[in-house]
């Protein structure tokens, strides 16, 4: 039983981690908590779903399509809505507010277009029969989730830490003015990071859609709310923190549901976030963003 719980926690935590890494990447570089991310989750899932159901595309290709498509949408949104604010040197909170408005706008449009009806990925995509390992049962989808997240996390870390482009991203996060002076094309980089983060988010959406067998316009909201808790606990802007805290949250939720109460597991993350704010606001890995009161 415990082994099964731990495995489920790993699966759930992986998705949280994936979403949060994209979320925190955006904050670290673009300095904005982008509330459109809930929308991107659904967008990724819907795009893939359409590709699979209406065009008979194999899952891996549909996933790619969903991810890249959402990335493109993200770049458009960033250019239309966030770039003007950056140019006007608007205060940070303006960007947050504008993504709120855009999120309300796009979510509502999606709802009007697709309705509340829950759609499903075709059951034939992946084998439903779980692999029985005695102590625990592993579904193909769950294996897929763990594999995909592990791969993407590894690629992300390699990119950020080992490539020149990754160094440029980190420079941009550290000090945008200095980065621009050093010849980094800030505009292109912002678009690139928006694209990259949205790709991660979209994949999270597709995986969620497969795992919970449900695709609907508001599917991203629970994930985004978890994402808030995870990035605060892990440290705003810290990718490693997002990974660790995401996995940890998966663990906390599954354990809360299993041993305390299934109803309140959703509140566990938020409670953890409030505790973090009181005790260690910078999060596990973050730099303290405090100032004297």
């Amino acid at each position: 039983m415990l082994a099964q719980q731990l495995f489920n926690a790993l699966v759930l935590g992986s998705v949280y981690a994936l979403f949060s890494m994209g979320f925190t990447l955006t904050f670290g570089v673009l300095r904005v908590i982008n509330l459109l991310y809930a929308f991107y989750v659904a967008a990724g899932a819907f795009l893939s779903l359409v590709a699979v159901r209406d065009f008979g595309v194999p899952l891996w290709a549909a996933g790619l399509f969903g991810a890249v498509g959402t990335g493109a949408i993200a770049v458009v949104c960033d250019t239309a809505v966030l770039a003007p604010l950056r140019r006007a040197r608007a205060p940070e909170l303006s960007s947050l507010i504008v993504t709120l408005g855009a999120a309300l706008l796009l979510n509502s449009l999606m709802f009007l277009a697709f309705g509340a009806e829950v759609r499903r990925f075709p059951a034939t995509l992946l084998s439903q029969a779980p692999i029985d390992l005695g102590l625990l049962q592993i579904g193909q989808i769950q294996l897929l989730i763990i594999a995909v997240v592990a791969l993407l996390a590894a690629l992300l870390f390699l990119f950020i830490e080992r490539t020149r482009l990754g160094v440029a991203v980190r420079a941009l996060a550290e000090n945008p003015e200095a980065a621009a002076l050093m010849g980094i094309n800030v505009g292109v980089m912002f678009s690139g990071v928006s694209f990259l983060a949205a790709v991660l988010i979209a994949v999270a959406g597709i995986l969620i859609g497969l795992n919970f067998d449900a695709v609907h316009p508001y599917m991203g909201e629970p994930l985004m709310l978890r994402g808030f808790a995870v990035v605060v606990i892990g440290g705003l802007g810290n990718i490693r923190g997002a990974l660790v805290a995401g996995l940890a949250l998966g663990f906390v939720e599954v354990m809360t549901a299993g041993y305390l109460s299934s109803n309140f597991k959703d509140a566990a993350g938020f409670a953890a976030m409030v505790i973090t704010l009181w005790l260690r606001p910078a999060g596990l890995f973050g730099k303290a963003v405090t100032r004297r009161a």
């Binding site: 904050f27 908590i33 809505v81 003007p84 604010l85 006007a88 608007a90 205060p91 940070e92 909170l93 303006s94 947050l96 507010i97 504008v98 709120l100 408005g101 855009a102 999120a103 309300l104 706008l105 796009l106 979510n107 509502s108 449009l109 009007l112 909201e221 709310l225 808030f228 808790a229 605060v232 705003l236 109803n263 309140f264 959703d266 509140a267 993350g269 938020f270 409670a271 976030m273 409030v274 704010l277 009181w278 606001p281 963003v289 405090t290 100032r291 004297r292 009161a293």
Partner: protein, 279 residues
Amino acid sequence: MPQWLDDFLWAYGSFVYGLGVNAILGLSMYAVLALGQLSLGQAAFMGIGAYASAVLTVKFGVPFPLVLAAAMVAPAIAAMIISVPTLRLTGVYLAIATIGFGEVMRILYINTDYIGGALGLSGIPEKAGGPVIFGLLALILAGFLSATRSKIGRAFEAIREDEDAARAIGVNVAAYKLSALVVSAALAGLAGALNAHFSSFIGPNEYGFDAAVTILSYAILGGVTTPLGPVLGAVVLSALPEVLRPLHDFRLVFNGLVIVLVVIFLPRGILGVHTRRVG
């Protein structure tokens, strides 16, 4: 009361009272946004006020004035708990904490059968009428207008423009921010109680993310250069979908669009006037 007014209120009472309540919510948002704080908890605090007041009236028969007072105190306490740690942090933490708070409250309401669970609470007696709602609105608005013209208004503006400069001239920034959050929560709670007592039914899904962003849109549209801004914003954004019937289904889309366009093109809102802050 004249017959035409009676007829009008019978048909549109809910709408008119709703305008009053939304105006109070707009002022609740003004209280924090005027200092540059982005608190998105108004909907959650409204929910606390609504549920607390409904329970007190329906299950305990508490007199209405006391109910209203309680509806202000409860959210104020909650506001302090979640926001005190964010006072020393950059503004984004407050936004995140308050959004998350709304979600948690929603889960709480859905899972608590005592207050009706997912089905909500109905049968709340209609105790909030025009005089109460608009009387309170007038009082609150007058208070804000008066405060804005005094040293309080200058302190607000100073904090919004430049917190460190505000500290350097002796403004106790932390105290002002906390007070603003508490006032904002209390007003939202009051709005919730008033709303509960004329719509006679409340449910857990009325106080979520969409509601929070809608309240924000009132203040964004009207701007926070004057307390009249969010009031005007509330009236316009509440009335428009009623007046323009085709807009009704697109109400949320419209609110979102308004926020995006105003933030980008009209950062000070449609009432971007300079108000005198000399008493």
